[in-house]
């Protein structure tokens, strides 16, 4: 844009030189001759008045187009960055919830189920122990019944001997013979009762043994089933954990890629700051072109000479950036200065 200004100034200077040259050529060819000074000044004013608004409009148009395009770019990049931030946040939350939340809760619930089965099996084994105790008690009852049978047999034998002795004693032992008979009858009844007890105890023992066998077989099956369930639950959890771990790895790679893209977009956006600077430079040039038209008009009226220094000094007062000043004094393009921070 500095080149545009130089061209404008050169053009203005050219008009002055042209006026002089036109006068010199008058004697050579069939030249119409120099314009009268007032007409020439008028034409310069007309020229400046005609081109300055067009140049200004073109500069403004460039500024607007650049501002719109860069604005759209920054909006788009900004949108991408926001989407990336959103995706990164939700991905991170989902992963943490998957590993520390859902997975741990599922493991806890499945563990509770297996614990319940274990507790039921433990209770069943305790019942089996009680049945074994009952069987032992039944055996004791059987032995006691047999003891009663033996006692009844000995009592019977004693009563028989007593009856024989009572018979030998004659009438004196008659009453004792009656007692002996009663004792024998009691012994017989005891023997019969104990025999029935032994039979019943044997039947109870058979029943308990049968129930015990069934229950032990069932407990063994359930124990196997619980152990299998425990193993299966652990295997499923291990599979899920492995899958979750793979998803986590994949998500971390995506996260790293997203962070990288976000950083690159951020750096690109930093570069787009040029728009603000270039916009201001163009604004200064536009104002100076308008000022040129005013100066040309002043020169035409004869109130002031058309002096480039006036226009350039005016331009210099508008500069806000150090590189604008450098370009102005050196006449070459100036590099953008590094950012500086001053704390007050």
């Amino acid at each position: 844009m500095a080149e545009t200004l130089v061209a404008v100034i050169a053009l203005a200077a050219g008009f002055g030189a042209g006026y002089v040259a036109r006068g010199r050529r008058a004697g050579g060819r069939t030249d119409p001759g120099p314009l009268p000074p007032d007409r020439y000044a008028e034409s310069v004013t007309e020229f400046a008045g005609a081109v300055a608004p067009v140049w200004s409009a073109q500069i403004d148009s460039s500024r607007t187009q650049m501002e719109t395009a860069v604005g759209q770019l920054t909006d788009t990049f900004g949108g991408i960055v926001e989407h990336l931030d959103s995706v990164l946040t939700s991905s991170s939350e989902a992963l943490h919830d998957g590993q520390g939340g859902t997975f741990d809760r599922s493991r806890q619930r499945l563990g509770d189920v297996v614990d319940t089965l274990d507790q039921a099996l433990t209770a069943k084994r305790a019942s089996l122990g009680e049945l074994h105790s009952l069987l032992s008690l039944n055996e004791e009852l059987r032995q006691m019944s047999e003891e009663v049978t033996r006692i009844a047999a000995q009592t019977n034998l004693l009563a028989l001997n007593a009856a024989i002795e009572a018979q030998r004693a004659g009438t004196v032992g008659a009453s004792f013979g009656v007692v002996a008979l009663e004792v024998r009858q009691l012994a017989d009844r005891s023997q019969n009762t104990s025999a029935r007890m032994v039979e019943n105890v044997d039947r109870v023992a058979q029943a308990i043994t049968s129930v015990l066998a069934t229950a032990e077989a069932s407990a063994e099956r359930e124990g196997t089933a619980v152990a299998h369930a425990n193993g299966e639950v652990q295997a499923v959890l291990d599979d899920l954990m492995a899958m979750l771990s793979r998803m986590q790895d994949s998500s971390q790679q995506l996260e790293q890629a997203a962070v990288g893209i976000r950083g690159e977009i951020g750096e690109s956006l930093v570069s787009l700051q040029f728009q603000d600077r270039v916009n201001q430079m163009l604004e200064h040039l536009r104002d100076n072109i308008i000022r040129f038209a005013d100066l040309a008009a002043d020169a035409a009226t004869g109130t002031a000479a058309l002096d480039a220094r006036v226009l350039l000094d005016d331009l210099a007062t508008k500069y806000t950036m150090a590189d604008e000043h450098r370009a102005h004094t050196s006449g070459t393009a100036a590099k953008v200065s590094e950012s500086e921070i001053t704390f007050f």
Binding site: V270, Q275, D276, F344
Partner: protein, 122 residues
């Protein structure tokens, strides 16, 4: 709780660049398109820092800072001027208006975040 920063600049691209840098560092951001617009954003809400351009239409940055400092709620709010300007007299005017730092564009986000972290109250 995230700190809130008001960004005032007539350039949409600069507002966007500064916003992205600050949001990425966990700050909340509100924006104004010039000094006049920014004053309407100072409606009593808590603002921990202001970042303002200098050359803006309707109301320039230095006038805006001076006006903001007249409001009791923002009397002690730190201000960073973010501008293409490098003239010392402008810097002095900004300091007199109440600005705490002057950052020239084009800025690097790390530089800006460093200045922000230095000025935002913990």
């Amino acid at each position: 709780m995230a700190k809130t920063i008001l960004i005032v600049d007539d350039s949409a691209s600069v507002r966007q660049v500064v916003s992205i840098a600050l949001k990425g560092a966990g700050y909340e951001v509100i924006t104004g398109t010039d000094g006049k617009d920014a004053l309407t954003k100072l409606n009593g809400q808590r603002i921990h820092l202001i970042i303002s351009d200098v050359n803006m239409p309707n109301m320039d940055g230095i006038t805006f800072v001076a006006e903001a400092k007249k409001l009791p709620a923002y009397k002690f709010t730190p201000v960073i001027m973010l501008t293409t300007e490098s003239q010392e007299d402008k810097k002095r005017q900004a300091q007199a208006a109440g600005a705490k730092a002057w950052v020239t564009k084009p800025f690097q986000p790390e530089q800006m975040l460093g200045a922000v972290a230095k000025l935002v109250q913990p």
